[in-house]
Subunit: 215 residues, 2 copies
């Protein structure tokens, strides 16, 4: 009954509803990422959208659920901009650089940084948020890079026992102390130029190491 009612009749309502939902999510994104989950107030979100708090409770259920929706949304969007493993060219160095640069840029985006802070802050209280973030975000990045490494492993360009772990190493090098300082707000994000130098150095180490050859 309500099924039928919804199916045909719900159409117009649902459209408005979804617009509102999107608007709420966008506003929540601004507020939560700027202030963090706990400091952020539902009221501030509503102020940006207009309307009343009730909207949030009917659409999402509560503050926590709104946050989870936001994290799901944001972490997926961020990753979508990364190159896919099936768009990989022949040259390994070039591939690694493209991938590294793209990841570095994403890591230093204000939205990403804020999301990172907010999620870590809440991870103990909201494990589902932490899991959603990781699976949609860093987890997928590592997986993609691992696939790329696998391809090059197969063709003999490189030799790695565990591509997954190696990928995580490379990404770890990109998420280094500079990243931590930026996350902590101790320095501004690096310029494109600095990013490039950083990626180049990481690649150099990743490919050839630092030991003196011929020893």
């Amino acid at each position: 009954m309500s099924e039928i009612a919804r199916k045909s009749g719900g159409r117009r309502q649902r459209r408005d509803s979804e617009e509102l939902r999107a608007a709420l999510l966008a506003a929540a994104s601004e507020v939560f990422l700027e202030e963090g989950f706990q400091s952020a107030s539902i009221e501030a979100v509503i102020e940006k959208v207009g309307g009343s708090k009730r909207a949030i409770y009917s659409h999402f259920g509560g503050k926590k659920e709104l946050f989870l929706a936001l994290v799901t949304d944001a972490s997926s969007k961020i990753i979508d901009s990364l190159p896919r493993s099936d768009e990989v060219s022949g040259d390994f160095g070039w591939t690694l650089k493209t991938f590294g640069m793209e990841v570095s840029r994403v890591l230093m985006m204000p939205t990403t940084l804020a999301l990172y802070r907010a999620v870590i802050a809440e991870s103990a209280r909201q494990p589902d948020v932490a899991e959603t973030f990781f699976l949609n975000g860093p987890g997928r990045v590592a997986k993609r890079l691992a696939e790329v490494l696998n391809q090059f492993e197969a063709s003999g360009v490189i030799s790695i026992a565990d591509c997954q772990r190696a990928a995580e190493r490379f990404l770890g090098m990109l998420r280094d102390d500079v990243h931590l300082r930026v996350v902590l707000g101790l320095q501004p994000p690096p310029s494109e130029n600095e990013l490039e130098q950083s990626v180049d150095q990481a690649i150099e180490i990743f490919l050839r190491g630092i030991e003196t050859r011929g020893s």
Copy 2:
């Protein structure tokens, strides 16, 4: 006058006072690191120590100052357990492994993890906390490792342009996705065995890279 009074007379008072201060700090450590700064309540800290909130306000000034004192204390203590650059033996691989293992263990300690979460959560609102943490913690670790690398660079074992950055790379590899998953509470800290495998792999890459030699 009050100077004189303090100088001789304050002795007994001051001793009790410092005991109390230490007890407050210890209790604050438990509460703040478990709950995070915002969720932690002054009252919970007092409950552990006995006494009244007044003690915190006279000793520290307020909730924020208490947190800063805690972070200063905790981040220094953690680092003190790390090997110093002047205790370095002749073998580079061994040195790197010792250093790597010690850092990995520290990174995975519950206290360290909680501190990391709490500081990141508050970094935007309390920049001084972020700075204190970084300078006493990760910053000092990287510096120590950089000194070690410098020594081996000088003796030609390795070849690095920028030891500071290289040290940060190595540490970045240790603070990889596994660390992030543990920080987020998605998996328990690795066993000593897993830690060792992880460090070994990081060292292998750091020293020799993954590219097929002879190409």
